[in-house]
Symmetry: C2
Subunit: 591 residues, 2 copies
């Protein structure tokens, strides 16, 4: 059987047994939708993922785009399949009908796109970037920009990019030096260099719209002087598209996502690169950050999807591959058994499952909060989305990578070859701990901003949400010890955050933040344990008689996470509190 | 500055301040050696590693060997540099002078070869395999085989392989089906298929000697019916080399070690493949296992070396790359600081250092025990070597891989490109958890055999060795709390092993072994903590006035490991004892 990418039963379980979809469908924005319309979206995404994107995965990985005379040429296979992806319309699916959208809940969109990502991360990259770029114009741009640049992106004719990073600045956006000089004609003349611009050039579409961070003349230094500009590859002049002086100056040879070019771009080498200000001057970073949550959830989902496809592959392999015999039954005259019979192989499978399905549940939950916050005016949901975002972004990247390593390991020597795909997914996955903010940056963001924001309101909301899950679990008859452990996890976070926050308030920010990485890991473990408790509650009261084994496996994975991972939080909290200072006081000159 | 591969100061520290070399040099076997002769070996290995092997790394990674008309052609660069490697004579360095060896201590050999592995794992692979193959004949072969096949390997003219694995059997050597039919002429006719045979063909040397596991006609089934045969690529007939009917049937496209071909071989397709029995019939597995410790230590060293070169690269990068500003000093008018100023980057560096240098110390210690056992008749040293081998093999593979991931992460977006080398080392490293026994197999070996062998004598020896280190640390003035924690670690292992062993004795081997992976990790953490305590003691009393910072860094890494990793053992021991059964009782059909 071909790799299913995601387990359809998981998707149904989340939509039908974990969540109460009527909470969404009774909101006016989603009024035209019901479970049937969701299924149509899911079915078409699943079909394109399985029949079109997945079969092209290897070809795109093996033969990356080529840079010829300053232009990127993608794999012919990608040009062939691109119309099938475009016509899904996912780049506009969640948007309002007035911009051509379907007003689809992000919750459903997340599950639909997960199939596409699992099938072919690179191809979905073009869609995701276009969605983000168009959404920036929708949210902050003028009517003219919406008409001229947003509409063709949402319509699927053009694609978009996020042009933030510069060679000398990396993650430090306050050090952006690209400039935008005002002209009397309303546009700006843009000059500068960008790097790591995904989909920054290609021959899939007539035009590419670069949402670009730059400084207007006279802007203040640092982050408060950065503006957002819309800088197309080709600008509209007199109803025609003319070259806009954005040059490809190099291609990065990435180790994964090899269907999606990552480029160095030069703006205005001929002095003729025009950009249009989006929104107000100097607000570029704040605009970007409003979109960033979306992008980060998407990166988290990339991580889940890439771990999922590998998990499915290793599960099938472990069931098929005969090797060795059970302990204590070593008679060489008996046939070898499939390796799934070995407990350590099941350990590696269950750990993957716990990571993949726990993280998928978290991503769907974050999407759920996004829907409730944006369309239900739910303030607690907004707090939850803000709090969960660094976790939803970095947990799938870090632990998803570990899951990918386990999938390779299960394949043994074959896993170490490019004849099998686990090594390719491992390469793909590694990017997710780097782009859209490294894991280290998300750790600082979680502890330094999100967890302590609004006088602890976010953590109070988290405690309340977990308490609701505990009530459900109790009612469903889930092991009381599990419920107690998850509850204690929340208390550990709350107490620790207060203690660390006090250090910050006392002026010692370094001491507060020294173990931010451990804090992020601790919060991630608890958040995933919370999701497993929710999944366990739904499994315990599972309604489908044909899925008894499916529910049993869910309970096994919940047990695994709560018994094996959750107890680690005490040590992590101890490190954070103790301020263990080995690297804190390390003088780099000693090394 | 070019990558140093290993820090020379570490090598000097181990030889001059951690160990007492006179213990070795007073043994008769090493009587011709002193610190000066060791330095000559180290200096020549280091020079070839830095000047010859490292500069060729990228070329060999980018262009793997090619299979043309059944023959492997290696990269021209490899053919050029091969004489420089051969002339080091490392394949025979530790062997007795009567077979052309230098009688070099394995302790020194390990450090010398670590440079070569760090420079170019693939190239060293040819040497290491040749050494192992020749050593098998030296130990078990007839005088004729020694003359005809061992001597040219030790002399550097030919190379060798270990031909164990078969497609249908993988790690399950009891399922080997290659056959050897006796003839009246003293040789056997061999037929069968092998896979994953590293260096199984190439054009570096005139001949290749395959040390091959096969079944003689009428052999009993299973592991007790497997014999060892010497099967050359070309056999000697009338003083000439003639083709011996070993065909290359395929090449595995490995993701790393790309200078070293991994091949599928077919023996006797024309019915004319001759092999010579090595030692007694049906003793093949036991012979192989006597060499296996050596091979496993070598794999562990591969892991250390590959993590070391990446650590050095990321350290240099972190010192050079300016990005961002310290927390609480965010004035954008100030210059950006090197990323090594960010505590989380130092965390990633110190974690790498703790893994790399802790593991290097463990490998050197294992080599030390090997020297004392083989040439000093030291029974405790033999017990220690046997006990430490699964740890010395798998810790560098697993945690070394994690270190390689951190080196890539420190490089940010650049680390995700093949313009930088960390991704290549990451690919190289991944093999080490798979070949020479997967980590899962070593976990079973440690708990099921080595830790419980000889009525607990191995663990008693371990406790005694750690106690000696504690004495030294106490005398040196190392923090008493560290000493207490390491001592407690040994107690945890001892108590846990007794408890698990009792389950096995009571007949429940499955329950005993269910958490073998956690047991291996626990023992590894304690073993590395023991080494860090030893290194800390030496650093605390460091004799070189010019290395105060170097000693400080050692103490920081010791503190990191003892405070951050060592406390994890309680949770791991709890899992082993509790028999947490989520994957144990998991029915694969549920998934």
């Amino acid at each position: 059987m071909a790799n299913p990418l995601l387990d359809d039963r998981d998707v149904e379980f989340l939509l039908d047994e974990v969540l109460d979809l009527s909470t969404l469908t009774t909101l006016p924005y989603f009024a035209d939708h019901d479970r049937g319309s969701f299924e149509l979206v899911l079915a078409s995404a699943r079909r394109v993922a399985r029949e079109v994107l997945y079969p092209a995965y290897r070809a795109l990985d093996e033969q990356p785009p080529r840079l010829i005379d300053g232009a990127i040429h993608v794999h012919p296979r990608l040009k062939e399949l691109w119309p099938r992806v475009r016509e899904l319309g996912l780049q506009v699916a969640t948007r309002p009908s007035e911009v051509g959208g379907l007003q689809l809940p992000t919750t459903v969109f997340t599950l639909a796109t997960a199939y596409l990502m699992a099938a072919n991360l690179s191809v979905y990259g073009y869609v995701g970037l276009t969605q983000g770029a168009a959404h920036l114009i929708e949210a902050f741009g003028s009517e003219a920009l919406k008409r001229d640049y947003m509409a063709p992106m949402y319509g699927g004719a053009w694609t978009g990019t996020m042009a933030l990073t510069e060679p000398q600045a990396g993650s430090s956006l306050s050090d952006v030096t690209t400039t935008a000089e005002p002209t009397a004609d309303g546009h700006y003349l843009v000059r500068g260099s960008k790097i790591f611009i995904s989909a920054g050039d290609h021959d899939l579409a007539d035009n590419i719209v670069h949402m670009t961070l730059a400084r207007l003349r006279g802007a203040p230094p640092g982050i408060k002087g950065v503006s957002l500009l819309c800088v197309p590859k080709r600008r509209l002049e007199g109803g025609k598209l003319v070259d806009n002086d954005v040059a490809v100056t190099g291609m990065i040879h990435k180790i994964g996502w090899r269907g999606l070019p990552s480029l160095a771009l030069a703006y205005g080498e001929r002095g003729d690169c025009r950009g249009w200000l989006v929104g107000e001057p100097h607000q570029g970073i704040s605009y970007m950050f409003q979109m960033m949550n979306e992008a980060r959830i998407m990166v988290g989902l990339n991580g889940v999807a890439t771990a999922s496809v590998a998990y499915q592959e290793s599960l099938a392999y472990a069931r098929d591959r005969p090797q060795g015999r059970p302990l204590g039954a070593r008679d060489p005259a008996t046939p070898q058994v499939p390796i799934v019979r070995h407990p350590d192989v099941r350990r590696m499978l269950l750990r993957q499952k716990a990571i993949v399905e726990g993280a998928l549940a978290l991503l769907v939950r974050a999407s759920w909060y996004s829907d409730l916050a944006q369309h239900g005016g739910d303030a607690r949901a907004q707090l939850m989305l803000d709090l969960l975002t660094p976790i939803a972004k970095s947990f799938p990247a870090e632990r998803g990578f570990e899951a990918n390593v386990l999938a390779l390991q299960i394949h043994g020597g074959y896993g170490y070859s490019s004849e099998y795909l686990p090594e390719a997914w491992l390469r793909d996955q590694k990017l997710n701990s780097i782009h859209e903010g490294t894991t280290g940056i998300h750790a600082l963001d979680l502890l330094g901003r999100r967890a302590v924001a609004k006088g602890g309101a976010a953590l109070a909301a988290f405690a309340a949400e977990v308490a609701t899950t505990c009530d459900r679990a109790r009612a469903a008859g889930v092991d009381a010890a599990w419920i107690a452990e998850v509850t204690r996890g929340v208390e550990v976070i709350t107490g620790l955050t207060a203690a660390l926050g006090a250090r910050g308030l006392a002026g010692d920010v370094e001491a507060m933040m020294l173990h931010a990485a451990d804090y992020l890991e601790l919060c991630s473990i608890v958040a995933i344990a919370w999701q497993w408790l929710e999944l366990a509650a739904a499994a315990k009261t599972g309604r489908r008689a044909d899925r008894a084994g499916f529910y049993q496996a869910k309970l096994a994975a919940a047990q695994y996470w709560i018994r094996t991972e959750l107890p680690r939080i005490d040590h992590l909290a101890g490190l954070c509190r103790s301020g263990e200072d080995s690297y804190g006081r390390l003088d780099p000159d000693w090394l």
